[in-house]
Amino acid sequence: MATKTDIASAATENAVTLSKDEILRYSRHLIMPEVGMEGQLKLKRARVLLVGTGGLGAPLGLYLAAAGVGKLGVVDFDKVDFTNLQRQVVFGTKDVGRPKIEAAAERLGNLNPEIQIEPFETQLSSENALEIFRDFDIIVDGTDNFPTRYLVNDACVLLGKPNVYGSIFRFEGQASIFGAPGGPCYRCLYPEPPPPGLVPSCAEGGVLGVLPGIIGSIQAMETLKLILGTGEPLIGRLLLFDALGMKFRELKLRRNPDCPVCGDHPTVTKLIDYVEFCGIRGEEAPAQQTSVPDITPKELKARLDRGDDLYILDVREPHEYQICNIGGHLIPLGDLSKRVNELDSSREIVAHCRSGKRSSEAVEFLRKAGFRKLWNLKGGILAWSDEVDPSVPKY
């Protein structure tokens, strides 16, 4: 049985009261005995930090602000772009190009001017995480990458703060609460991150827009329950959601006594280098790309205009080819080993994908298979659109 935690009551009981306006605003909470005046004051005294204002952070921020969480910290360093709007409902079209933190703070402040919003326009790191987390009671993880996820987990365990976790992939989501007293942490569930090569590539990525709304709302609900000290929190349980099957399942989680962070004899007692831990070297220039011969979009265009005999190999997925293409021969990266005999090693081959990462893997594979006249289109079809043909849509 999971232990109930009552975060806010442990905090110092300031003489917090509700104004007449606040009583009206929160009336649908106040008339519920499970919340009532006492619960609403707990919410007002609560200090919650939201890491990330992306797909999960958007509904989280909106619901926590609306519910009257007194101090809402928000950490992000990104800018709003057009591809965010399909799911990050805290932003509007006019916010494109603005810092996320600024746009989110404005929207949340407009939704509920009674609360205090504390923006941190920075990338969460091993250097600043403990300092930022210290002033909050609950940390909500709305991140989208493994290094930050392990960082948030470890910092929460080191500080003894609950970590309300959510994660999404395409049409599947996970949620739980880590780092609660006696409960498991993220490393008890997954001791190590996947090596970068096995993380699904952008071909298999993407997310159905409503999914983060569902998982983020579950995180918001669990956050309110922790603050109110009511119900059965999602501690020691991993909730799995499959949107396509519209099924929820629940798995048991246990604290691992051998866990390197929260176990009986922890070996991780301070924050580490999480980028290194996750084996990611440089996001802009994937390791393989340095050894692969590049051709720039402009060079490729010039050679095609000259009439050079080049075989353009598109290693993206068929549904991406439908979005846009530059007339290449489509063999998805995953099928390349089976269909390599379709290629003529006597011709020069220029491989491309969306951004250049998958095609560099394709070039590497073909080189090992004995091909010699190989090029990787630098920056992929995105760079082609930027530098050669702006009529090719970017996605």
Partner: protein, 94 residues
């Protein structure tokens, strides 16, 4: 024993898009062996070079983690559900 193995979204690319696979096995190890015999590409996503289950992939029998049962020797009963649950960190296109 007839059992059902549930395949998570990220691994469905290697199971001909099937979200579950029905097979016969008396232990978890047998079930995963049968599964990877049927879908060879799945193997490197479930096991590391030493043939051990990868540390970002968990396997459950019904709602119990096999790490806290008898691992791959965990017995299966008729109608049990084996779930493969890898870590996910969605949204991001790296």
């Amino acid at each position: 024993m007839p059992v059902k193995v549930l395949i998570p979204t990220p691994l469905r690319a290697y199971t001909s898009k099937q979200d579950s696979v029905d097979l016969k096995a008396s232990t978890v190890g047998e079930a995963l062996t049968a599964l990877t015999a049927q879908f060879g590409d799945l193997r490197k996503h479930l096991y590391n070079e030493d043939g051990k289950l990868r540390s970002f992939v968990n396997v459950y029998v019904n709602d119990e983690d096999i790490r806290y049962l008898q691992k791959d020797k965990t017995q299966l009963n008729d109608g049990d559900t084996v779930s493969i649950v890898p870590s996910i960190a969605g949204g991001n296109r790296r």
